[in-house]
């Protein structure tokens, strides 16, 4: 009995050795025949030998032979299937060759940044309003409570078309145009180009972008102005940014404020910092409660309604956000600069 068991084991080893060398259907057939052929197969011979065993030994040895036969049959079928699939000859591919590139244009950085700003205000329920770039003195100054011949006008160096017609120096005239047409509640932002009589230098240009904001409703307070702008600045820069409101003056707001953020370049107060110049603060926004005279000018009762307004220079803020030292690069339109913003 031990002898036949040894033979079974030898047969199994012989099969494994033979099958390992199979690489096509022909050699597979040879191996199959060597073990399973009805006349000469080694397993067939083992089955025939079972009859010679004592009856009490037959079941155990018979099961072992049968297991081996099943194993060989299954292996052959599996290999037969694998080898029957025609092998397509692959051309050698150099997978290290570069992938395809689709050339995509870039948005202009100022427009991109303006969109980021708009998105934040749209989240807060603001609508977007627009207005003309060629304005009248009335909308640009008088209706905004700049008396004629007041030195406050000197802070807005103006490009004039005629005595009464000018290039808007800020987006604020659109406040007036909106309030003339619509009664509160008003909650808008006004993005757009503005113009100043400024010779180009790293921090001044005769044209730049502003985003103006205006909220007029019942019970609007300075606290709402602070809440809105703090939310905006944290969303635009980051949650931990330092924010400072300090008193200022604009003819069309009272009280007025300027809003500074902590210099993120030097972390504040480094004298040689080229961004904040050591002050530790960067002026970002002008703001305030809408002056009662401005509300009167558009027939909104300042005893009933109140509001706040704010404005920021998009270019200036973008310079700070992207660490760009010279504002003029925005309008040189050097594609080596602009194309970087495809990845922003």
């Amino acid at each position: 009995m031990d002898e036949i068991k040894r033979e079974i084991e030898e047969t199994r080893q012989a099969f494994e050795a033979a099958i390992g060398k199979v690489n096509d259907l022909r050699t597979l057939q040879e191996v199959r025949n060597a073990f399973l052929s009805r006349q000469r197969g080694r397993v067939t011979a083992l089955v025939a030998r079972l009859k010679t065993l004592a009856p009490e030994q037959r079941p155990e040895v018979g099961r072992q032979v049968n297991d081996l036969k099943t194993h060989i049959q299954e292996t052959v079928v599996r290999l037969q299937q694998q080898l029957s699939v025609p092998v397509k000859r692959l051309e050698a591919i150099d997978l290290t060759l570069p992938g395809e590139k689709v050339y995509r244009g870039s948005p202009h950085p100022i427009h991109l940044f303006q969109e980021e700003i708009e998105t934040i205000f749209l989240r807060m329920g603001f609508a977007v309003a627009e207005g003309p770039e060629i304005e009248t003195d009335y909308y640009n100054f008088t209706a905004l409570n700049f008396p004629p011949h007041h030195p406050a006008r000197d802070d807005w160096d103006t490009l004039y078309i005629t005595e009464e017609v000018l290039l808007r120096t800020h987006t604020s005239p659109v406040q007036i145009r909106v309030m003339e047409k619509k009664k509160p509640p008003i909650r808008i932002i006004i993005p757009g180009k503005v113009y100043r009589k400024e010779a180009p230098d790293p921090t001044h240009l005769p044209m730049f972008y502003q985003v103006e904001g205006l909220v007029v409703d019942l019970g609007i307070t300075f606290a709402h102005l602070k809440g809105t702008l703090e939310y905006f600045l944290k969303a635009l820069f980051h949650e931990k940014i330092k924010i400072r409101f300090r008193p200022s003056f604009f003819p069309f707001t009272e009280p007025s404020a300027e809003v500074d953020i902590g210099c993120t370049v030097c972390g504040g107060g480094k004298e040689e910092c080229r961004v904040c110049g050591g002050a530790g603060w960067i002026e970002i926004l002008g703001a305030g409660m809408v002056d009662p005279q401005v509300l009167k000018n558009v027939n909104i009762d300042p005893e009933k309604y109140s509001g706040f307004a704010f404005g920021l220079g998009v270019d200036r803020t973008a310079m700070f956000a992207y660490q760009i030292p010279d504002m003029r690069v925005f309008y040189e339109n050097d594609l080596r600069f602009i194309r970087q913003f495809a990845l922003k």
């Binding site: 060759l97 995509r104 030195p151 004039y160 005769p206 939310y231 339109n333």
Partner: protein, 686 residues
């Protein structure tokens, strides 16, 4: 405004470290822009505002600081050494124009030895960034920087007739200023004159003819108030801005002239002068003190925080306001004349907020009571245009809105440019009438810096004059030259040409669902004849596209082809776009037939297209040109055109025989109309 800490200590006791002092000043709105140490003193450079002339002197800044720190404002005494002559006997002051000069005060100092100032005074003048001149001039500057009230000293001996007349200038009068410039005067200007001639431009600058010199013995000190608008107009017309005019045009303290005169006289008498008795003070219509009512509930309503009543009262009193309780929660506040900015309740709310501290006001989000349309539909359309052009490999640019008049002729076309009266430079003296100028500059800039190709677009306004009005119009400008993107081993990329441009324009129109669009042959001042089409939608010309004229390119130093398009977006956006609808996915298969024709070169594609469309074959889903070539196998004046026709029935599978009939209709129509021939082997059923 420069503020010396030594100097300000004349008015308040101060022992704060400089950084802390700067913080306090910042918090009340006096922003320190910088500071430096000068001669052991610290001089701050403080930003001041157009509505706060009172902060243009040390006294005013000290008053603010005293209110912020809760300390008392000191009032220095100004003792005089008097002589036994009264001022009114020495000079005769007459105001001839009370509107432009509401108050004029003066005093005489006799026997003053004119010489360099004592060291303490010179130091202070230097701290203000000025050069000390002599004791008399330095004293006038000292009073100005102390109190923000400008004064002037005349050499009394040179005042003819001992008359001081405040009047409008006569035509053709000329005044030589202290600086030696001749100012041509006009009746809009107010002057100080003696019996015969102007001796100063009121509130702006003194005249050379009455200036204090080393020979001067007696001086007349002028301390007046002039109308702010008149001073502003005068100094603008004269082209001179002085420390005096800067303050007068912001508004002077109507109560202050006699005090400033006494202060100057006191200082000069300490230097050896004798002061005449009694200030001459011509003040025909004394100004009443303004009173404003302040309601407690308005303070809270505007600031969004409850401010304690005692704090409100104390703050206003510290700032020099007289505060009387009218009834509970309402105050009657008298405004001192030095606060020219305070006229209304809101102005006082700002004062309370400044000293309460903006940082102590809470931050809340305003409640949202209504929701409205977030933006004009045009903004969404602009985003879609930009997105589409980015996909077409075009970069976005933004150019300044100006145009060089030298290029206007070649650029401007039919539009009349809008000129700027005071441009920043002669090259930016017009508003642009087209986006093309900026785009060409961008191409040149980038080509000069090694770019192979430049494919760019801009969305922005152009400006023009029409029927006495100034118009602005939103435009899309596209310009392309050369090839963009790196050459890739799989793809040679595409260079700019007409069809790349046309494809981009069509993609934009399709994206906005402005279809169908049509083209016409056109001529346009900026485009080369025969290489330009106009684009039409709903019967209106929306824009042009083509090759730019050579003379235009030459004006921008470009000698390569530039393909460009200009579309009027205002016109386009006013049109109704096709509604967006989803069609069911077809259930039945299509039948595709590819047909190649030999056609005359002269037949325009658009005509072929229209001829097929005119057949109105109900089951022709679409067709398109997929190949076009000419070569040895094709006669010279002919071209091979291969079209793919896609047929489909919505309700069943088409039979080959039906498709054959439709195809035959197309072929015979084109044969008849254009004498097309089928190309051999061109008929392939798939």
């Amino acid at each position: 405004m420069k503020i010396s800490l030594d100097w300000i200590k004349d008015y308040i006791d101060l022992d704060l470290p400089v950084p802390r002092l700067i913080e306090v000043l910042d918090s009340i709105g006096l922003l320190t822009e910088g500071w430096e140490e000068v001669d052991g003193d610290v001089v701050l450079d403080i930003e001041t505002y157009a509505n706060r002339p009172d902060t243009l002197g040390h006294l005013g800044v000290a008053r603010e600081l005293a209110a912020a720190l809760g300390t008392r404002l000191k009032e220095p005494a100004w003792p005089l050494t008097e002589i036994n002559e009264s001022t009114s006997d020495l000079v005769d002051v007459q105001i001839w124009d009370e509107d432009l000069c509401p108050r004029y005060s003066g005093i005489v100092v006799k026997g003053i030895p004119v010489r360099p100032s004592p060291e303490w005074l010179s130091r202070r003048i230097r701290a203000m960034g000025l050069k000390p001149i002599n004791n008399v001039v330095d004293v006038t500057n000292y009073v100005l920087f102390s109190t923000a009230h400008p004064i002037h000293a005349f050499d009394l001996a040179r005042v003819e007739g001992k008359k001081i007349i405040i009047r409008r200038a006569n035509k053709k009068e000329v005044l030589r200023s202290l600086e030696g410039d001749d100012i041509e005067l006009s009746p809009e200007m107010l002057v100080i004159a003696d019996e015969k001639k102007p001796i100063a431009l009121a509130g702006v600058i003194g005249g050379e003819n009455s200036a204090v010199s080393e020979e001067t013995r007696d001086v007349f000190i002028e301390s007046a108030c002039f109308d702010p608008v008149s001073v502003r107009k005068t100094r603008k017309a004269a082209g001179i801005e002085t420390d005096a005019s800067y303050r007068f045009e912001r508004g002077a303290d109507m109560d202050f002239p006699p005090k400033a005169a006494v202060m100057a006289a006191s200082l000069l008498s300490q230097m050896g002068g004798g002061v005449s008795r009694g200030v001459v003070d011509v003040y025909p219509n004394p100004r009443k003190t303004r009173t404003v009512m302040l309601r407690r509930h308005r303070v809270d309503a505007l600031l969004g925080v409850q401010v304690e009543e005692p704090f409100i009262e104390k703050t206003l009193r510290d700032l020099g306001f007289q505060v009387d309780v009218q009834q509970k929660g309402i105050w009657k506040v008298r405004i001192p004349h030095f606060r020219v900015d305070i006229e209304r309740e809101a102005d006082m709310v700002e004062e309370i907020a400044r000293f309460y501290g903006y940082e102590n006001i809470p931050a809340h989000i305003p409640p949202l009571r209504t929701l409205e349309k977030a933006a004009a539909p045009s903004r969404e359309k602009i985003s879609k245009i930009r997105e589409t052009l980015f996909q077409h490999g075009m970069d976005e640019v933004v150019n300044l809105s100006f145009m060089d008049p030298e290029r206007a002729e070649v650029l401007s076309g039919d539009l009349i440019p809008v000129p700027i009266r005071n441009p920043i430079s002669s090259k930016a003296a017009l508003m642009r009438t087209t986006l093309i100028g900026g785009l060409l500059e961008n191409i040149l800039w980038n080509r000069n810096r090694g770019a192979d190709g430049v494919h760019i677009f801009e969305i922005g306004k152009i400006f023009f004059a029409k029927e006495d009005a100034f118009r602005e119009q939103l435009m899309l400008g596209v310009a392309m030259t050369g090839r963009v993107g790196d050459v890739h081993w799989r793809d040679r990329g595409r260079s700019a040409d007409f069809f790349k441009l046309k494809g981009a324009c069509e993609a934009v129109m399709r994206r906005l669902r402005y279809e169908p669009l049509a083209y016409q042959e056109a001529s346009h001042p900026r485009f080369r004849e025969g290489v330009v089409l106009s684009l039409h939608f709903k019967g209106e010309r929306i824009g042009v596209l083509g090759l730019l004229k050579q003379e235009l390119l030459k004006a921008f130093d470009l000698d390569e082809d530039v393909w460009a398009a200009e579309l009027n977006l205002d016109l386009l956006f006013a049109k109704q776009a096709k509604a967006f609808e989803v069609e069911p996915v077809p259930k039945y298969p299509s039948v595709i037939r590819d047909v190649s024709f030999i056609a005359d070169r002269s037949v325009p594609y658009q005509d072929i297209r229209e001829a097929v469309e005119r057949l109105r074959l109900p089951h022709l889903e679409r067709f398109y040109l997929y190949d076009r070539f000419s070569g040895a196998s094709i006669p010279r004046d002919k071209v091979s055109l291969s079209f793919r026709f896609v047929f489909r029935h919505q309700g069943r599978t088409l039979q080959a025989a039906e498709v054959d009939r439709m195809q035959e209709k197309i072929v015979s129509a084109l044969r008849t109309r254009f004498q097309f021939h089928l190309r051999e082997g061109g008929e392939i059923d798939k």
